[in-house]
C-alpha cells in the first residue's frame, strides 16, 4: 500500500472534536482519497477525553492501525492517551498560548500554533479547530482547496459569510506553519479524481431501509443505534413514511409491529438493553408471522455495560432470545456497505417468510466513517420482494369453506397468504396465543403441532431457497483458516495483506440460517475464530455445527480489533502449538 496517513484530533467532549474530524475526513474523501475513521469517546456530553481518528490512503482502507502520524491535541490528555501510537516523527499540533503547557516527547515534531488567537482574528474562537485543520493541511502537503470544499459542504446552509470565515481560519493555520516552521514533514498526500462517498454503518442501515421501502420507523434513543433514527427523521417523510420516537423500546417495537400489520415495511433499531425489552414482543411477532426488521447495534454489555464501547456480545441473544422456540433470521453485515445491502435483504426475508429479522451490527461499524465508490450502492440492483400478499382479486383461493380468510394457512412451504387491512373479505385476527389457521386461539394438540411445524418449515424453505454463502478471501487450499463474523472483516483483510499465502479467510454475514462450514474446517489444519467477545459465542457455534474444535482469538476490552494486532495474533496463533486438536 502507498503511504497512508494516520491523523487524529482529540480533546474534551464538547470541544467539537467530532465535527472537526468529520470535516477533515470529508476533505480527504473529496480529494479522492480513501478514508477510514474511528472514534474514541466516553459516555458523557461535556468533559472526558474524546478523539476522532482518520486513516487515509489512495488505496482502500478497511481498518485502523496502531500508528499515529499527525495529532491535533487540544489537551495534554490527548497526547498521553496516544503515547503508544505516536512515533519519532509524529507531528503534534497544539496551542501553546492556551493555559496548558504541552508536554510533547522530545523526539517528536512540535508545532505550537496559536489556534485560538488566529481563529479570533478570522472571526471567532470557535473556529480554532479549523485553524488546526489548515495547519494539518500544510504538514501533510494536502491542497487546502479540498478543505475549502468540505467547509462549504458543512457550513453552506448557514450562509456564505460563515464559509468564508472558516476558509480564512484554515488559511491562517496553514500560513502560520508555513511561515514559522521550516521543516520537511515528509508527507505528500496524493489526490485523485475519484468520487467517493463517506458514511457510517448506522447511516448505511438507514439508507438501506429507505431504499427497501421502509415507511415506518419507531425507536427509542440509545447509543450507538440512535443515528439510524436520526438519519431516517426528515428523510423518510419525503417517501410518505414517518419516524416515531416512542416512549420506550416496548412501545417502539409494538408500534412497528402495528405498522407492519397495516402492510407497511417497518423497522426499529436499538442496542442490547433495548433488545432485552423488546424480547417479549419478538415472540409475538414471530408467532403472529409479522414481517419486521430489528437492528441491534451492539455495544459492550451486559446490563448498561459500556455504552460507548464496542463488543459482539449479543449473538446468543439474537439466536436464542425469547421464551419458547422462535423462528427468526439473523443477518450480520460485515462492512459498512453491507449494512446497506443486508438491511434491504432483511426486509425481503421478513416479508417473504413473514418473520422477524435481526440485523446485527455494532458500535465499531456504527461510528466508523468509511469511503466508498457510489457504485457500491447500485440502486438498479435493488430488488424488492413482498412475498405472498393477496389482493381482492385473488383472495377467494385463500378463504375456507365458510369464506373466512386464513392468515396462518398451513401451506406446504410454511408460507401463508397475507392480507393487508382494508382488503375486502380479508378480515382476520391473529394472536400471540397459539392459534389455528384462522388465527384464533387454540389449545388443540394437533393444531399446536401443525402451527409450530408450519412456522419452522418457513426456515427450512428459506434454507433451501436463499443464498446463505459466506464471503471468502485468501487461498482456498491454505492450511490455516480464519473465520469471523460482523465488523472484524476489514481488519482481518488488511492483516492478511502481509500474512503469507497460507491463510484462508471466511467472513460470515448470516448467523441464522448460516452457511455450513464443515468442509472448510475439515480441510484446514488449523481453524481460528476471531470475534469481539469473551466467551467465543460464534466459535461455539462453529464447533457445534462442524463437530470440530476450533481455536479462538477474542477481544473484549471495548475496542475493536485493528489490523496490526490481528496480524500479530493470527501469526502467533498459527505459529504456536495447536491449542486444540481436531477430533
Amino acid at each position: 500500500m502507498p503511504e497512508d496517513l494516520n491523523w487524529a484530533v482529540g480533546g474534551e467532549a464538547g470541544d467539537g472534536i467530532d465535527s472537526t474530524g468529520k470535516i477533515f475526513a470529508q476533505a480527504l474523501s473529496r480529494a479522492g482519497r480513501h478514508v477510514f475513521t474511528s472514534k474514541d469517546f466516553a459516555s458523557r456530553i461535556r468533559g472526558g477525553y474524546t478523539a476522532y481518528k482518520i486513516r487515509t490512503s489512495v488505496d482502500e482502507v478497511n481498518s485502523v492501525v496502531d500508528r499515529l502520524d499527525v495529532l491535533v491535541a487540544l489537551t495534554q490528555r490527548t497526547i498521553d492517551e496516544n503515547l503508544d501510537e505516536l512515533h519519532e516523527n509524529s507531528v503534534i499540533i497544539y496551542d501553546g498560548e492556551r493555559s496548558w503547557e504541552a508536554d510533547v516527547p522530545d523526539e517528536m515534531v512540535e508545532l505550537d500554533v496559536p489556534l485560538k488567537s488566529l481563529a479570533e482574528d478570522a472571526g471567532g474562537a470557535i473556529m480554532q479547530n479549523v485553524v488546526a485543520l489548515g495547519a494539518a493541511c500544510e504538514v501533510a502537503n494536502f491542497p487546502i482547496e479540498h478543505l475549502d470544499s468540505a467547509l462549504e459542504k458543512r457550513f453552506g446552509d448557514k450562509g456564505q459569510k460563515l464559509v468564508d470565515n472558516n476558509q480564512e481560519a484554515a488559511r491562517a493555520g496553514r500560513d502560520y506553519v508555513q511561515e514559522n516552521y521550516d521543516h520537511d514533514y515528509g508527507y505528500d498526500l496524493e489526490t485523485t479524481d475519484n468520487d467517493y462517498v463517506l458514511l457510517n454503518g448506522d447511516e448505511a442501515i438507514g439508507m438501506g431501509a429507505l431504499v427497501a421501502g421502509c415507511r415506518f420507523y419507531a425507536g427509542y434513543p440509545i447509543t450507538p443505534a440512535t443515528n439510524v433514527m436520526e438519519y431516517l427523521t426528515g428523510r423518510i417523510d419525503q417517501y410518505g413514511g414517518t419516524v416515531v420516537q416512542a416512549e420506550d423500546e416496548l412501545a417502539a417495537i409494538n408500534m412497528a409491529l402495528g405498522a407492519a400489520r397495516s402492510g407497511a415495511r417497518a423497522m426499529t433499531a436499538t442496542s442490547g438493553p433495548g433488545i432485552d425489552l423488546m424480547t417479549e414482543t419478538f415472540g409475538l411477532i414471530a408467532t403472529t408471522e409479522t414481517p419486521l426488521v430489528i437492528a441491534d447495534v451492539m455495544r459492550s454489555g451486559p446490563s448498561t455495560g459500556m455504552p460507548t464501547k464496542q463488543e459482539q456480545g449479543d449473538l446468543n441473544m439474537a439466536l436464542y432470545g425469547g421464551h419458547g422456540e422462535i423462528p427468526r433470521f439473523v443477518v450480520a453485515p460485515t462492512t459498512i456497505s453491507e449494512c446497506f445491502w443486508k438491511t434491504i435483504e432483511a426486509f425481503n426475508l421478513a416479508e417473504k417468510y413473514q418473520t422477524p429479522v435481526y440485523v446485527i451490527s455494532d458500535l465499531a461499524m456504527a461510528v466508523t466513517e468509511q469511503t466508498f465508490s457510489p457504485e457500491e450502492f447500485d440502486m438498479d440492483a435493488v430488488e424488492i420482494d413482498r412475498g405472498n400478499v393477496v389482493s381482492e382479486d385473488d383472495i377467494d383461493q385463500y378463504l375456507d369453506e365458510q369464506g373466512r380468510f386464513q392468515p396462518h394457512y398451513d401451506a406446504a412451504d410454511g408460507i401463508s397468504p397475507r392480507a393487508f387491512p382494508g382488503t375486502a373479505e380479508g378480515a382476520h385476527m391473529t394472536t400471540g396465543l397459539e392459534h389455528d389457521e384462522l388465527g384464533r386461539r387454540t389449545e388443540d394438540t394437533e393444531e399446536r403441532v401443525q402451527q409450530v411445524d408450519k412456522r419452522n418449515r418457513k426456515v427450512e424453505t428459506a434454507q433451501r431457497e436463499e443464498d446463505w454463502s459466506p464471503r471468502e478471501f485468501g487461498n482456498e487450499d491454505a492450511e490455516n483458516l480464519v473465520i469471523t463474523w460482523g465488523s472484524n472483516e476489514g481488519a482481518i483483510l488488511e492483516a492478511m495483506d502481509e500474512l503469507d499465502d497460507d491463510v484462508r479467510f471466511i467472513s460470515v454475514p448470516y448467523l441464522f440460517p448460516r452457511p455450513d462450514l464443515t468442509e472448510a474446517v475439515e480441510n484446514a489444519d488449523r481453524t481460528v475464530v476471531v470475534e469481539c467477545n469473551a466467551t467465543g459465542q460464534f466459535a461455539d457455534l462453529i464447533e457445534r455445527d462442524t463437530l470440530t474444535r476450533v481455536e479462538r482469538i477474542n477481544k473484549y476490552n471495548g475496542i475493536r480489533f485493528n489490523a496490526d494486532e490481528l496480524r500479530e495474533r493470527i501469526t502467533e496463533t498459527f505459529a504456536a502449538e495447536p491449542e486444540v486438536t481436531a477430533q
Binding site: N254, R261, L284, F377, M379, G422
Partner: protein, 287 residues
C-alpha cells in the same frame, strides 16, 4: 371499502368463554353497534386487544385484529393507524392491562393523540388471573393478594388522561347499552385519542363493584347539563373522586389526530418495486 355493515357483521363465529353475566358482553355489543352505526365495516376496522378476560374481545369480534402481549395494545394501535390512516382503529383491554403494566403507554398515547378509540373494561380486578386487586381497586378491597385491603390509593384513569392532555375523555357502563353505544360512537367520531373507561363488572371475582353498585352510583352527565367542551367543568367532574359519572366528560373540539398533524394521508403499504426513483440522491448526500 365494503357496503354498509350491520353490527352482526362484526361478530365472529367463536363463542365467548366469558362467565355468564360478565360485563364484557355488553361492552362488546356496544362496540360492534357503534362501529356499524358510524359506517365502518370489518374490512376497514382494526382491533388491538390487550391481555385479560377483556382482551379476548378481539377474538369474539370480526375485523382485522391483533391480540398482543400484556399492556402493549396501545402502541400496536398507534402503529396500525399511523401506517394506514384509513383504518378505524379500536384498542380494548382491561384496567390491569391499561393502567398497570401498560400505564406508561397510556399516558403517552393520550398525549400523542393518534386518532383511535380506547375502550378500557374497568372491572376493578384482575379477572383472567383469578381475582387479584387491580390498579383501580379500592383501598380497602380484599383479594387473594390483598387480604388486608390494597393499602394503596387507586389510579384515577380519567384524571390521568386529563393530566396528560387528553382530547376526549368519557366513561360508560356496559349494561347501559344505549348510552354505552352512543358514547363509543362519539369516541369513534372524535379526531384524536378517545378514552372510554367502561365499567364492565366481573361477576366472578368482584362482589363489591357490582352491576347494582354501578347502577346505583353512576350519575349521567346528560342529566347534569354538562358541557364537555368546558374544560373547567370537565375538570371538576373528573377530580370529583367521590362520585362516578357516565357520558362524555371532556372533549376538545379543536383536536387533530397526530397522524394528521404529521401529514400522513395515505396508507404506507404501497412501495416501489425496486429502489425509489432518485435513490442515488440519497448516496450523493454523502459526497
Amino acid at each position: 371499502m365494503s357496503s354498509q355493515a350491520h353490527f352482526t357483521d362484526f361478530k365472529s363465529d367463536k363463542r365467548p368463554t366469558w362467565c355468564p353475566g360478565c360485563g364484557d358482553f355488553g361492552t362488546m355489543n356496544g362496540m360492534m353497534k357503534a362501529l356499524a352505526n358510524t359506517g365502518n365495516s370489518p374490512d376497514d376496522t382494526f382491533i388491538c386487544a390487550g391481555i385479560g378476560c377483556s382482551g379476548k374481545i378481539g377474538t369474539y369480534m370480526h375485523s382485522y385484529a391483533l391480540h398482543g402481549v400484556h399492556g402493549r395494545a396501545l402502541p400496536v394501535g398507534t402503529g396500525v393507524k399511523m401506517a394506514n390512516p384509513n383504518l378505524e382503529v379500536m384498542v380494548a383491554g382491561g384496567d390491569g392491562d391499561g393502567y398497570s403494566i401498560g400505564a406508561g403507554h397510556f399516558v403517552h398515547a393520550v398525549r400523542r393523540n393518534v386518532d383511535m378509540t380506547y375502550v378500557v373494561m374497568d372491572n376493578r380486578i384482575y379477572g383472567l388471573t383469578k381475582g387479584q386487586f387491580s390498579p383501580t381497586s379500592r383501598e380497602d378491597f380484599e383479594t387473594s393478594t390483598s387480604p388486608e385491603g390494597t393499602q394503596q390509593s387507586p389510579v384515577h384513569p380519567l384524571a390521568l388522561a386529563m393530566a396528560a392532555g387528553g382530547s376526549f375523555i368519557a366513561q360508560s357502563f356496559s349494561s347501559d347499552s344505549q348510552r354505552h353505544t352512543q358514547i363509543i360512537e362519539e369516541a369513534i367520531e372524535h379526531d384524536g385519542f378517545s378514552l372510554v373507561n367502561t365499567y364492565s363488572p366481573c361477576v366472578t371475582f368482584n362482589d363489591v363493584d357490582t352491576y347494582d353498585y354501578f347502577r346505583d352510583s353512576l350519575i349521567d352527565l346528560d342529566e347534569e347539563n354538562h358541557d364537555p367542551n368546558d374544560y373547567d367543568q370537565a375538570r371538576e367532574k373528573i377530580m370529583d373522586f367521590d362520585n362516578i359519572y357516565q357520558g362524555v366528560i371532556y372533549q376538545d373540539d379543536d383536536s387533530v389526530g397526530y397522524e394528521k398533524r404529521l401529514g400522513i394521508e395515505e396508507p404506507m403499504n404501497d412501495i416501489p418495486d425496486g429502489a425509489p426513483e432518485g435513490a442515488m440522491d440519497l448516496v450523493r448526500e454523502f459526497y
